[in-house]
Symmetry: C2
Subunit: 323 residues, 2 copies
Amino acid sequence: MQTDSLSDRILKGERRALARAITLVESNRADHRAQASELLAQLAGSGRQALRIGLSGTPGVGKSTFIESFGMMLTGQGLRVAVLAVDPSSARSGGSILGDKTRMERLSREKNAFIRPSPSQSHLGGVARRTREAIALCEAAGYDVVLIETVGVGQSETVVSELSDLFLLLLAPAGGDELQGVKRGIMEMADIILINKADGDLKATATRTCADYAGALRLLRKRPQDPEGFPKAMTVSAVEEQGLEQAWHEMQFLTRWRRDNGIWEANRAAQARYWFDQEVRHALLARLDTPQAKAEMERLNAEVSAGRLNPARAAEKLLGTLS
Amino acid sequence: MQTDSLSDRILKGERRALARAITLVESNRADHRAQASELLAQLAGSGRQALRIGLSGTPGVGKSTFIESFGMMLTGQGLRVAVLAVDPSSARSGGSILGDKTRMERLSREKNAFIRPSPSQSHLGGVARRTREAIALCEAAGYDVVLIETVGVGQSETVVSELSDLFLLLLAPAGGDELQGVKRGIMEMADIILINKADGDLKATATRTCADYAGALRLLRKRPQDPEGFPKAMTVSAVEEQGLEQAWHEMQFLTRWRRDNGIWEANRAAQARYWFDQEVRHALLARLDTPQAKAEMERLNAEVSAGRLNPARAAEKLLGTLS
């Protein structure tokens, strides 16, 4: 494969070339990794940047419908939209979010849209690297908006928020005692909370839920990356395509404010350092990934858990066997 | 120094021996570290366990007064109480929380109480290890309750919650728009939120603040480690010594429930594994702590931040220079 011509085709915005390049960064084969690394190095100079929007929401809140409606609105404005997914659960379940493009039938036929299902494999660290590299490819291909979708599982929101310029949390209306179960710590990442399904019978409930979250957000400390009034809770209806333009308006306002205040660039630089740091740690800790080290760690763990050995001494013993 | 006799004196509950042992675990000198390690190994077999209570609250909420009143109530019931502090800020500020025992005048004169100011030094990892070892020493010395105090700075709450059986968050009453500024992510750790200063003019405000937090807690997902009705928000007045017995009653109820359901022991075992894991990571990452590695990391970081090098490739390059 000539990565040179592949990079040219990506820079021209060819979707098939982009899809092929993403397959390359997703591969575990050493020769593919080398090619991917080369390709990314070639494309690093393009200078193109997309708005990276992270989106989280548990199954059933209407995430696919939202992405379709929101994506159609953006392409209707002449913007090019890429949709990626971070789905650490697919490794176990065998399924994958976004795996079924028929759930976004209209958007998947749009020529200015690119939808990529999550790779159904691997641990979160690997998923994060692949997604990060897929984002870089989409940016080089000239996409204006990259939507990175995830589902409320474990650490995947942290990964997505470290890959995004802004982070949306999509929730369903919940009446009275029927509580939402928003994972602790996820609310803290949200720049905008969207209460979906603000239509028909659920409209009043959605408005009430929105007020509840607005109240909860006010109880949290103001973050330096937020202008007055953010984080914000809003209602939308993906089905009736209501509130999407207002939501997009708020996202643009927030982005502009962060750009004007140097926060946007500082955040990207901090994310780059974060991922570099993560990659370094990952590579170092991989040295514990031998059968010998694992067995020793298991043995020491049992001692520590039982209170017979203190953690610091156990660590000394383990490291002594390593080098 | 004969650690043998020191361990005997600790097991007898001698406060001066305990203080001396804590000084030993706080020391950075290699010979002290070795003695501390030896001492901890000797005491590991004591089988004594205290209830470890983490306590966080920003300056001004009345933490010292609360600890004094609460501690006096516990010693009044014949319990032995130790108070420790995790204060990563003291390294920079030069000050230290709990440094001024006069703020707990009555408790510091109690023969069944032991108060230890935070060591004014070092990074959070070091503070965590020293605190963990100080807790082990207090337990061996037969203390029934170990209160671990921290102030809302950075990661110190995470450290304290990983050292505690239960976690209290102390807040001041806040009226209307005058919001609390509870750090995102800290509310998630709290088992009981205590609104202090529920006395005099602030009583009504405290009750309202308590209701606000109770509402916010209900919006969060139920945790497996909680019985019905937890996490819980309550009002107390440390100055008037109101609500302290009810709070203690709830702590005991929660502890009993967790013990009966195997959660208490599972949590301790998980914490031991967590700290072992942290110690191992810490020791491995210390290999990056050479002038050479730091310079190379700095150089690569700049490349990565500027978008000229992708994080995975940068990590490969760095690790290549290490081994």
